[in-house]
């Protein structure tokens, strides 16, 4: 045909892009890729699954309900009477060494910390120590923004207001003697929460920052006097407060209360009889909630969770089975050789 003539401005550019000739990788679902792929994924999953399963099986968990709905429970008296500072206790027995470090959690069920209206009812600026928000808390905090006299609530909002306020003490019964198991309450909250997200106003003493404010309605003590034993563990930086303020994703949850890392119990809880002394304050019966305590140790994969391991095992086995099915189908139909 005609040889290429002089360049015309209307002549489209001859580039790989404009002519849609960009080099490309064109994978297709061929048997050579899919079947070995399935086998490999299947085997890998089975491997991971076994590892996870064994790890999870080795993690010890001791979970005890202390709601007190049953008459036999010691906490029954506190649950039904709703008296203040009601104390009850829970006896239990550990048959083998509970390897340390042991973590002590409290758990709540049927508790909707993930409810939208509950979740938004807080003021992050206030919790960051912003004094203007002390005087005028965010409207998000409604209906726990100001008290009936119009005084601002600090910390405001439903989340802070509903803070869990049961306290626990653990004793080991050795020969009729009760040995207090020391709890470590430091560093149970996220580092970022403790160091960045929450901050006390830089007022000395801390108490003065809270002038003209009131404590949350359900609270017995103000936020700056939550921990008498450790002055630094007060205000918004109180570890229990921080833990509570990180709201749970699901209606059944557990939150870290203390760690057992010190003294004789560094290596764990030895076998024996124990008594947990509970200061029973938090009402859950109204909404059919349960309260429980959990002792657990952890591994590289975190707390005990059989699900992941089992899931990996099941999916892995499914992959292998499917690859067999595919192989049979492929051998039987053997497209694309037949054309």
């Amino acid at each position: 045909m005609v040889k290429e003539k002089k360049k015309s401005p209307d002549r489209p550019d001859n580039t790989a892009f404009t002519q849609q000739r960009l080099p490309a990788w064109q994978p297709i679902l061929s048997a050579g890729i899919v079947i070995p792929g399935f086998v490999l994924i299947g085997l890998a999953f089975i491997g991971i699954g076994v590892g996870l399963f064994i790890t999870s099986r080795d993690i010890q968990v001791l979970e005890m309900d202390y709601t007190g709905t049953e008459a036999s429970s010691d906490c029954n008296k506190c649950a039904i009477t709703n008296t203040k500072n009601c104390m009850c206790s829970l006896d239990f027995n550990i048959s083998t060494l509970f390897k340390g470090p042991v973590f002590f959690y409290y758990g709540l069920t049927n508790y909707f910390q993930n409810h939208r209206r509950y979740g938004v009812s807080r003021d992050d600026s206030q919790l960051y120590g912003d004094l203007t928000n002390f005087k005028d808390p965010s409207t998000d905090c409604k209906p726990y923004r100001v008290d009936s006299n119009g005084k601002p609530i600090v910390p405001c909002g439903a989340v802070a207001n509903s803070m869990f306020n049961d306290t626990f003490k653990l004793y080991q019964n050795v020969n009729g003697q009760r040995n207090l198991v020391p709890f470590d309450g430091k560093g149970i909250a996220w580092w970022t929460d403790y160091n960045v997200k929450f901050r006390n106003p830089s007022v000395e003493p801390l108490k003065n920052a809270f002038n003209d404010t009131v404590k949350p309605l359900f609270w017995t003590r103000a936020v700056y006097e939550l921990d008498f034993s450790d002055p630094s563990n007060n205000g918004f930086l109180n570890q229990d407060f921080l833990v509570w303020m990180r709201r749970a994703a699901l209606p059944n949850f557990r939150k870290l209360y203390r760690r057992i890392t010190e003294g004789d119990y560094k290596e764990g809880l030895p076998a024996g009889n124990y008594t947990l002394e509970i200061s029973y304050n938090y009402p859950v019966l109204r909404f059919d909630g349960r309260k429980k305590v959990v002792f657990s140790n952890v591994s590289w994969m975190g707390g005990k969770n059989d699900f992941l391991g089992i899931a990996y095992l099941v999916i892995g086995s499914l992959c292998v089975v499917m690859s067999m099915v595919m192989l049979i189908v492929y051998a039987k139909f053997k497209f694309p050789e037949d054309n």
Partner: protein, 1136 residues
């Protein structure tokens, strides 16, 4: 009274028309919110402002909305130009030079002049601003060449006509500045009135999408209702007990709470119809349109015309074409007739053209002996020239006949520079052939013809023209030579001529018949030539009777016919001519490929039946191996019906009496006819007058049914209106996408009627192109437009929609599952920033990349396997079923994406014993899983990984992590504590091994069933779409060029059409001397631009009296009102 002042610079930029700087924003916003989709998002925004309802922060909707509005507003702002009344200009006499190529295709400079009264104002803006006149003018219309109005100023009225108007779309040339008064703007401008689609075309995917969006809205309401009911139950059972920690606001009971929840969930779940869908669809279409513009394989270097996508909204429809309606002249053919072969006195001349490539220019006959020869004429047989030079008497008589017996007009601008205007290109070709072989037709008067015979000027007295008509199928002239010899020269269809030959030529007849069959077998148009010498006495007596007959008051025609019949007998055969109606390059191959792609091609032409049939054969539309070609040419309603019925029964003997009606939608009465499968291949040729009956209400279904059973259909002698009617008929009763392709003004109606109109540019005027959606220079590009661009566009659009719905449904459904665990409180699963950016940033580019670059197989393979086109016609890639599958798939994925993280995080803790089952970690985990799952799914969908795609996919994932870590960083929190509450979640979660194990698990679990399903589907019931890419993989290299089917030479069972392509001769006109001289047109411009439309000649209403809007303005064009003859073009393609 409109009095907007505006500037017009040489760049043709107009400042003020619909908007100005201040009013643009509010006006444009108002207009944009009139679009339903945008209004919907505005409603959402309003909902979010209500604190009780607001489940999401305002920015989640505002950011995308602003983005969309900005894009659209930017588009609107650039779209704004207007029609102007010229006030004054920089040039002397207030002239303005303009080029109107965009309007009518002509590239000449035109002149516009301002009124003196305004022109005197010059460039004095103050004066111009003070100028206070009143313009009254016609309402907006689409006539580009007309404008009427008056300017009243200082008590005086000035007439305004077209000369004073600058239309939108024209370009200023050689003019520094001019001032104008805006008359019409926006949609009212003549350009918009003209080429603005009279009906806004939408693609079937568009329509389906609208239906689906409505369904989705319904579904959204359902989901929200379920969740609201859930909320009501929860509030009664649990919420009322939970009020200790979460008190209700005053007065809110469970019912009211459920009501609020409904709206809150409307906000959260609105992402099932994301605002970015519409924007993305437009971007994809725009991109794919650019590919068409950029395609060098659709660029015609000879005419320097690239393909152009004039509409950017119809691309995917190109991949679904089922019916093509094509014009013939100028579309399939070049409208160039070439004198190819001849048989003179039993000797055949003219070599078979083997292959263009091997015949060099130098092989052609040298006509330098003849100074008057047309340099563009090419002939390859030297023996004919030798015969002419040797003064072979038969050869001379042959060419003398060609030079004398015709109705061509000659023009001579300069000495020796002849050009012919012929009513049919065939005639022109014959006269030009004679010219080159030394018998030059020079000029004519009503009673004489002067020719140059081998260099000698001779004048023949023209005594009579026995004109051509459809019944006679021949024409004759009676001339007296300078020597005084009386002769009758006759040319006509061979069968007709043969009946009138003298017995003495029976031997010659046999030989010539053989040649004729040979010519016809090659698809050439033949004519037989004969002559006879007349007796002076007999002629004068005949002449007398002829005069009487021609002045008779009654029965004139039949009397004349009798007379003609009498004199045209005992003719002596001279020979035969063979003319090639030159097809455009690659037309037969294109048609073959397209029919392999199961596209049905109907040719709608104004030509007469023989011509059309002939072209049908030569371009593979009709084939000799077809079982039967039905010809419908009945002259009454009953005849036509019977012919149609007969055709039906012979194709399908036991077919039902009535067409099978696929579905009948109540109310509208829309019927759809099922495609019927017949054994064998059939063709249908229907004549214009029969078509008129066939298109009647009572018969149209019969016609359609018959036509659809046939492989190809040719409608001849159709008017532009009928063309549109045929298209409408198919559109109405077939659920199929139609495409109309044409080049002339007479095709405008069907181009507008069809789903997609394609204009052939560079041949005739611009009307067809202006009203088309796509335009290119050659018919063969249609193959690439459909099989490559169309298929890819459709594939990409469908993949895009499927994936887009998948990713948004998956995203949204997770909220639905979470609702059951958060007390139906409209708590979102993800971080609000993630919701805002998910469609905008994290998943936008990968899917756009896929829909701009994806190819299942490359263009070469697409051509190799035209069957790949079929799924598009059947709407397989994106239909309600495919959408439903998408929804199911999303449902599965969302279940995995919610419950796997749920189970994995439930009651678990970090490896340092701290909390991990908190809301923020859960949100982060779920959204990361989601993003991985949809990205991997995209990878599965994508079959063409360019570097760009890889970059987009990986880049988006990286972007996600970068943005997430930034959003959750200390710095952002310190900046705005309330906007970034997720501080630290990324750091605290993503360093946990079980988080990553969960991500891997969900990703794999989302993808595995899909891979298994697809793999098994490919193995168990592979489709062509699975096989071809597989072969492609195996072959790796480009496929061998498809074996071109050897053109099967037709056996000579049928006689080709004779070479008269016009209806009625113009002998009367020629002899009456009434013919008008066309204004002289220079050869250089005339040959390249002036086509049928430009000369305005219209033997069968091809171009005259037809408006581009599809409404015939003057359907009755009386035959006598011919104002000019057709410009004849010889070979214009020097490459041949």
């Amino acid at each position: 009274r409109e009095y907007n002042r505006s500037f017009k610079y040489a760049t043709n930029a107009i400042k003020t028309s619909k908007y100005n700087v201040l009013t643009f924003l509010p006006l444009n916003l108002f207009e944009q919110f009139q679009r339903i989709a945008n209004a919907y998002f505005l409603v959402l925004l309003v909902l979010q402002v209500i604190p009780q309802i607001s489940s999401l922060s305002w920015f989640t909707t505002v950011v995308p909305l602003i983005f969309v509005l900005t894009v659209t507003a930017a588009k609107d702002a650039t779209d704004d130009l207007a029609d102007l009344l010229l006030l004054s200009s920089s040039e002397p006499l207030n002239l303005v030079y303009i080029e109107t190529a965009e309007l009518d295709g002509s590239t000449n400079l035109k002149v516009r002049q301002a009124l003196p009264v305004t022109g005197d104002l010059g460039d004095d803006i103050e004066k111009l601003a003070d100028f206070n006149g009143e313009v009254r003018c016609e309402p907006p219309n689409n006539r580009l060449d007309r404008f009427t109005g008056t300017l009243a100023f200082a008590g005086q009225k000035y007439a305004l006509d077209n000369e004073k108007i600058l239309l939108r779309g024209c370009t200023l040339r050689n003019t520094e500045w001019c001032f104008g008064l805006v008359l019409f703007a926006g949609q009212e401008t003549k350009l918009m009135q003209n080429c603005g689609k009279s009906t806004f075309k939408r693609t079937s995917v568009d329509r389906l999408m609208n239906v689906l969006v409505l369904c989705i809205f319904g579904f959204l309401v359902c989901m929200c209702t379920i969740l609201a009911i859930g909320n009501y139950i929860w509030e009664i059972n649990k919420g009322s007990n939970f009020t200790v920690f979460l008190p209700r606001e005053d007065g809110n009971n469970a019912g009211f709470s459920a009501f609020l929840t409904f709206w809150s969930y409307v906000i959260i779940l609105n992402t099932v119809v994301p605002i970015s869908l519409y924007v993305s669809v437009e971007i994809i279409r725009l991109g794919n349109s650019f590919y068409i513009d950029w395609d060098r394989k659709m660029y015609h270097s000879h005419s320097d015309t690239p393909a152009e996508a004039r509409t950017t909204t119809l691309n995917e429809e190109l991949g679904q074409i089922k019916y093509i309606f094509s014009d013939k002249t100028g579309t399939l053919t070049q409208n160039i007739m070439i004198f190819n072969k001849c048989s003179i006195n039993g000797k055949s001349y003219g070599k078979i053209k083997q292959n263009n490539h091997f015949i060099k220019q130098k092989d052609s006959v040298d006509f330098s002996f003849n100074p008057l020869a047309d340099p563009r004429f090419v002939f390859y047989d030297h023996s004919l020239v030798e015969a002419v030079k040797l003064e072979n008497p038969e050869v001379h008589a042959f060419f003398r006949l060609l030079a004398l017996c015709h109705t061509v007009m000659a023009g001579e601008k300069k000495e020796g520079e002849l050009f012919y205007q012929a009513q049919s290109p065939d005639e022109g070709a014959l006269v030009t052939a004679a010219r080159n072989f030394g018998f030059v037709f020079r000029s004519r008067t009503p009673d004489s013809i002067s020719i140059v015979e081998m260099g000698k000027q001779r004048s023949y007295e023209l005594l009579a023209i026995l004109d051509f008509n459809n019944v006679r199928k021949r024409m004759s002239v009676i001339v007296r030579s300078p020597e005084g010899k009386l002769s009758l020269y006759c040319k006509g269809a061979d069968t007709i001529i043969y009946e009138r030959l003298h017995q003495s030529c029976s031997k010659l007849m046999d030989v010539t018949t053989e040649h004729l069959n040979e010519f016809a077998g090659e698809g050439l148009r033949t004519l037989a030539l004969a002559y006879k010498d007349l007796d002076e006495e007999y002629f004068s007596q005949w002449k007398q009777r002829h005069h009487e007959a021609s002045t008779a008051l009654d029965d004139r025609e039949s009397k004349l016919d009798e007379l003609y019949e009498e004199i045209e007998k005992d003719l002596l055969l001279l020979g035969a001519t063979a003319i090639e109606d030159k097809l455009q390059d690659g037309v037969p191959q294109t048609i073959e490929e397209l029919s392999k792609a199961d596209i049905k091609i109907w040719v709608l032409t104004g030509d007469k039946q023989e011509t059309a049939e002939n072209i049908g054969y030569s371009c593979n539309l009709l084939r000799e191996e077809m079982n039967e070609v039905f010809i419908i040419s009945g002259h009454s309603s009953d005849d036509v019906r019977e012919e149609l019925r007969n055709a039906q029964t012979s194709m399908k003997p036991n077919a039902a009496e009535n067409p099978v009606i696929l579905s009948e939608e109540a109310g509208e009465g829309v019927k759809l006819i099922k495609d019927e499968v017949v054994n064998g291949e059939y063709g249908l040729v229907i004549n214009g007058h029969s078509l008129a009956f066939a298109l009647e209400r009572s018969m149209e279904l019969d016609f359609l049914r018959t036509a659809c059973m046939c492989k190809s259909v040719i409608c001849c002698r159709v008017t532009p209106l009928q063309k549109a009617q045929v298209v409408e008929l198919v559109k109405r009763y077939k659920r199929a996408v139609t495409l109309a392709i044409g080049d002339g003004a007479n095709d405008v109606s069907m181009i507008k009627a069809a789903h997609i109109g394609v204009g052939i540019s560079g041949q005739e005027g611009m009307q067809a192109v202006l009203s088309s959606d796509y335009s290119f220079a050659q018919f063969r590009f249609l193959q690439r437009l459909l099989l490559v661009h169309g298929r890819w566009s459709y594939l990409r659009m469908c993949k895009f929609l499927r994936y887009f719905f998948y990713k948004n449904f998956t995203f949204t459904f997770v909220h639905f599952w979470f609702a059951f665990f958060c007390g139906f409180s409209a708590q979102t699963v993800y971080d609000e920033w993630f919701i805002t950016l998910y469609n905008l940033m994290y998943t936008a580019l990968p899917v756009l990349g896929m829909s701009l670059f994806d190819q299942d197989v490359n263009d070469v393979w697409s051509f190799q396997h035209p069957q790949l086109y079929v799924p598009g016609q059947l709407n397989l890639y994106f239909s309600k079923k495919a959408f439903f599958k998408c929804a199911i798939h999303s449902c599965y994925s969302s279940l995995v994406l919610f419950f796997i993280p749920y189970a994995a995080l439930h009651d678990t803790v970090r490896d340092d014993g701290k909390d991990m089952a908190d809301y923020q970690s859960f949100a982060l985990l779920t959204q990361t899983c989601l993003l991985f799952a949809v990205s991997i799914q995209l990878g599965l969908e994508m079959s063409y990984w360019t570097a760009v795609n890889t970059f987009f996919v990986l880049g988006s994932l990286v972007m996600y992590f970068v943005v997430t870590f930034t959003m959750y960083s200390n710095g952002m929190f310190l900046l705005l504590p309330s906007a970034f509450p997720f501080i630290g979640s990324a750091r605290n979660s993503l360093n946990q091994p079980n988080v990553w194990l969960t991500i891997v698990l969900t990703s794999i679990l989302c993808v595995l069933p899909v891979v298994t399903y697809r793999f098994l589907l490919i193995q168990l019931c592979p489709t062509i779409n699975d096989k071809v890419p597989d072969q492609n993989q195996h072959a790796k290299a480009t496929p061998p060029p498809p074996p071109r089917r050897a053109r099967i030479r037709r056996s000579s069972t049928r006689r080709s059409g004779y070479a008269f392509s016009h209806a009625q001769g113009y002998g009367d006109l020629v002899t009456s001397g009434r013919f008008l001289r066309r204004p002289a047109i220079s050869l250089s411009s005339g040959f390249s631009q002036v086509g049928r439309a430009a000369t305005g000649f219209s033997p069968m209403g091809r171009s005259a009296g037809y408006s581009p809007t599809g409404r015939p303005q003057n359907l009755k064009v009386p035959d006598v009102e011919v104002t000019s003859l057709q410009m004849y073009r010889t070979i214009t393609d020097p490459s041949l």
